[in-house]
Symmetry: C2
Subunit: 133 residues, 2 copies
Amino acid sequence: MSEATMTIREMCDTYDVTPRTLRFYESKELLFPIREGQRRLFTKRDRARLQLILRGKRFGFSLEEIRQLLELYDIGDQQHTQIAKTYEVARQRLADMERQRDELTETIADLKEQLKWGERFVASMNKPKRAAE
Amino acid sequence: MSEATMTIREMCDTYDVTPRTLRFYESKELLFPIREGQRRLFTKRDRARLQLILRGKRFGFSLEEIRQLLELYDIGDQQHTQIAKTYEVARQRLADMERQRDELTETIADLKEQLKWGERFVASMNKPKRAAE
DNA sequence: GACATACTTGACGTTGACGTAAGGCGTACG
DNA sequence: CGTACGCCTTACGTCAACGTCAAGTATGTC
């Protein structure tokens, strides 16, 4: 059974990040590891948040934007104040992401179209006029 | 009818970028405006490339990555050498983008799920136990 | 000729997201 | 006891993608 908390090294190995990155995220208030003496212990909540951070980054969100998104996820768990406002932020983000997805879908189609060209061309290079062997 | 070339200012107004950005892209070999004396003239090809640059940026591609993508688009037009290699780069990019799209779709679904919570909560805040007025 | 304007080329500044190096603390081992 | 880890903080370094500022050139225009 997985332990309740993880050390910084376990975190690094698990999620393929450096200690510096985790400390940096803490300093930016994206993670809130507890302390045992002077050492950090990362909870299940920190791990869930880190996964969302890494995912967000892959979409080009800035850390500050991700921090706002994380606020929303917290609200899902523990009902908080300021819900209406943060809710608006989230609707906004969601609309952005849907636009981005649609545009991405379109670009993929474009690119596939271009690749047809390359495909026929590459194929013709591998097949001389008449096959030998 | 649109002229064959555009000045740097026309480009800036059309695509909402700064002169500095266009010169920077030229220095990085993303654009190749011709010269009339010392001034730049941007061709139709430059405009097509700029659109792809701006689109690429929205997906978080680096300028260097975009430069590689642009090479591919050139191949679609004027058949070039090194096709097989660049073709491979493109298949790679395409796979990346499809993975990214799928993940984005999933994240959107997650986020919508969270928002249902917020929605019910916000609704309950606007409706006290029994309506007054 | 003086001036405005539109463009040019350096060159240094800025921001975000860390990398990296220096020096200190606490425990564990030989 | 020394020293070897593993972690800590502080602080300066780096890279991409431009912004910003200074100084120069060509063209028109009063």
